[in-house]
Structures are given as C-alpha cells and as structure tokens.
Symmetry: C2
C-alpha cells in the first residue's frame, strides 16, 4: 500500500472554501455566471436586482438566491414578481451567507435552464467579506445616503470586489456626499475597480451596469 497524504481540513473557513470551490465548478459546468451582491442594510440591493432582472430577462435566464436573517419573503417575493425564480435561504440570525447555504439554494434552482445566478447576501459590510460563496464575481452596493466615508470605515469589503455599484444617486442633492471623495477612498483599496453610479428610481447607470453583467454572463457561457 502506498502512503496517501490526506491534508486535514483545518478550520471552518477552509471547509467553507472547499464547498465554495465546488459551487463555482458546478456553476461553470452549467455555463452559469454567478455574482454575489453584498451591501449594508437598506443600500438598495433588492431594488437593484429587481431592475436588473426587468432589463435583462428577455436576453438571459436569471435565478436568484436570496439570503435573509429572518424567514420573511419580502425580497424573494419582489424578485419572483420581476420574473425570475428565487430561492430564499434563511440564515437564522447569522450575519453572513456561507458556501453551504448557497449550495442548498443551488439545489432548488433549475441550473440547466439558467445563464446567470445572482446571490443577494445579508445586509452587512463586515462579515460577508470573509466568506467565499463560490461566485465568479463579488459586487458591493453602496448607497450615497450612507455617506462618502465608508471605504475608510469598512475597508475590508472593498479590497476583493470585482464591481462596485453606487446606488440612490438621485439623493445626491439632498445628502452630504462627495462622489470624488468616495471614489478616492475606493481607489486606495482597490485600484481601477469597475464602478457604476446608479439610481433604481431614475434608471441612471443601468444601461452600463447591465451591459457589463450581460458581457460577463455571455463570456461564462462561451467557456
């Protein structure tokens, strides 16, 4: 018998990362692009997702995995009304989603019939940054109402992002928010990060953002 070296899975994050890697493989095998959307509570994740579905649903097939700390279906109901299958994963008070929750959500989605899976993470700027879910891209939604100092206050979440969505730009006239100051903070943490200023109310920025997402989704399908 030859000696087989089995590395021990050391900690909860390592186990998580193992499942995340598998999730990513499963998505890729189905030619699906998966994006994980993070944000503070009330930043406008659901409004962004609903509008994105409305604009893209005739071009690609979209499924959503909704993370919620409580078992209310407010968000998933809105997503279903917008025309996409949604699975709600309740974290029962946990402060972030993990790869296993996403796996359970994936099992409920018709993966063979999807091109894009959007994960709506728990509203939290700290804990979700640590947990790989198995997505191909990580996005952050940052509302102008939160203030322009957030990159300095919550730097970790900005470091590994692939795309940043500034939301509620229609509120800029009514809040103290200097978009250049905000962007200068982001630039320190994540140079050259793709950034879309958007408003779900006025539609500003949605053509550019959905074009970016469509391009990524099509590239994943062609792999």
């Amino acid at each position: 018998m030859t000696s087989i070296k089995v590395p021990i899975i050391e900690n909860i994050l390592e186990a998580n990362d193992f499942v995340a890697e598998e999730n990513r493989k499963i998505f890729s095998e189905h030619n699906i692009f998966c994006i994980n959307i993070m944000a503070a509570p009330g930043a406008g994740k659901t409004a962004l997702i609903v509008k994105t579905i409305e604009l893209l649903k005739d071009k690609i097939r979209i499924g959503v995995i909704e993370g919620d700390t409580a078992s209310v279906t407010i968000d998933s109901d809105q997503v279903v009304m917008a025309g996409a299958p949604a699975v709600q994963v309740t974290t029962a008070g946990e402060c972030h989603m993990d790869a296993m929750m996403v796996r359970k959500g994936m099992e409920q989605l018709p993966l063979d019939d999807l091109d894009l899976v959007i994960i709506e993470n728990i509203g939290n700027l700290i804990c979700p940054a640590e947990w790989d879910l198995g997505s191909h891209a990580d996005a952050l939604v940052a509302s102008v109402a939160e203030g322009d100092d957030k990159p300095w206050k919550y730097p970790n979440i900005y470091r590994n992002l692939d795309v940043l969505l500034i939301t509620k730009t229609d509120l800029i006239p009514y809040v103290d928010y200097d978009i250049d100051h905000f962007k200068s903070g982001v630039e320190i943490l994540n140079p050259g990060l793709v950034t879309f200023p958007t408003s779900a109310k006025t539609g500003e920025g949605f053509p550019a953002w959905t074009e970016w997402l469509l391009k990524k989704t099509k590239a994943a399908a062609e792999k």
Copy 2:
C-alpha cells in the same frame, strides 16, 4: 473543608456577560449613565452623537467610546471637535464590540468627571445585538433612507432596545418610506418602544431626544 461549587464559565458570551455586568457596576458606582448606540453603516450615528453633545455639553459631562473596524479616527475626531473626550476602540475587523473592548475604553476615560458615556457601536444590524456591553440602555439609529421594511428584515436587534431614533427624516420626501409601516413593524417586536424621529440637518426631534437622555442621566446620578 466544605465543598465549594464553582460554576464553569461555559462560553464566550457568558464570559462577555460577566465583564459586561462589571462594566455596568463600574458605571453605576461613578453615577454615570451609559448608552450603547447601534445602527447600520451610514445611518447617522456619528452625526446624532455630535449634535447630542453640542446640545447637552453645557448641562452634563459626556464621554464617548467609539468602536471602529478600522483604525481611522474620522468619528472620534468629530466627537472631540464637538467637545467631548473620546476613546477609539478598534475591533480590527471584528463585526461588533464586546464588553472587554468597552472595558479598555473605560480605562482611558476620566470616569470621575463624567455623567454620561455614549458607546458608538460598529455599523452592523446583526452581530452587535448579541453582545451585552455593560450599558444601561441600548439604542438603535435607523435612517429613513434604509427603507421602512427593516424591522421585518433584522428583527433581533429591535427586540431588546430601550430607545429608537429614526434619523434623516429630512429625506422622507425623496425616498419611499412610510413611517407608520415602519413603526407597525417595531410595535410587533418591541411594543411601546420609545421612538424619536430626528434629523441632524434640521434639528427635528432633538429637543425631545436630548430631554429623554438628560432625564435618564440625571436619574442615574441620583441613584
């Protein structure tokens, strides 16, 4: 020898609660009222604290313990400028403050010369709800820009509050926010909760809120 039963401290929360109880006792021995202010990122905790200090600093002596995930001093600088001693406690990426962090902050404050200590918790609606810091009251700051569905989405944090501050009411005309819907959700979780709608911009609600806080502080001093 008589048998002495020593209960074992079982978990991290039990150890935390032990320190928290001590913190509360130390505050009380110094005739200090301590309030823990929680919120989502960007809800306006710092603006509320700064304005509260400005309005109360001639009546009572206020100290602030600032929790931050990163070692930036944006918030504590603002508090010091408003005229109160502030200690910044950096959680080094942790998603909440705990009783030990507060203890370390207390050690840096001139407790003999204070009537009120305000703890500005980390911006997070989930994790801070679990951790007793040793305060006499827990407050939540909820901005109207976050939306009126938050009690349903983040119920745990509403359950044990002593006071609720609705902030940025000046934005109500520009956002979809039904204050009665919001309050109806709060009422289910925490019936009769003392609630102050406020705007740091217009000053709305600050006379009532600061009067409540002053009354609590004076009652603590007389005990």
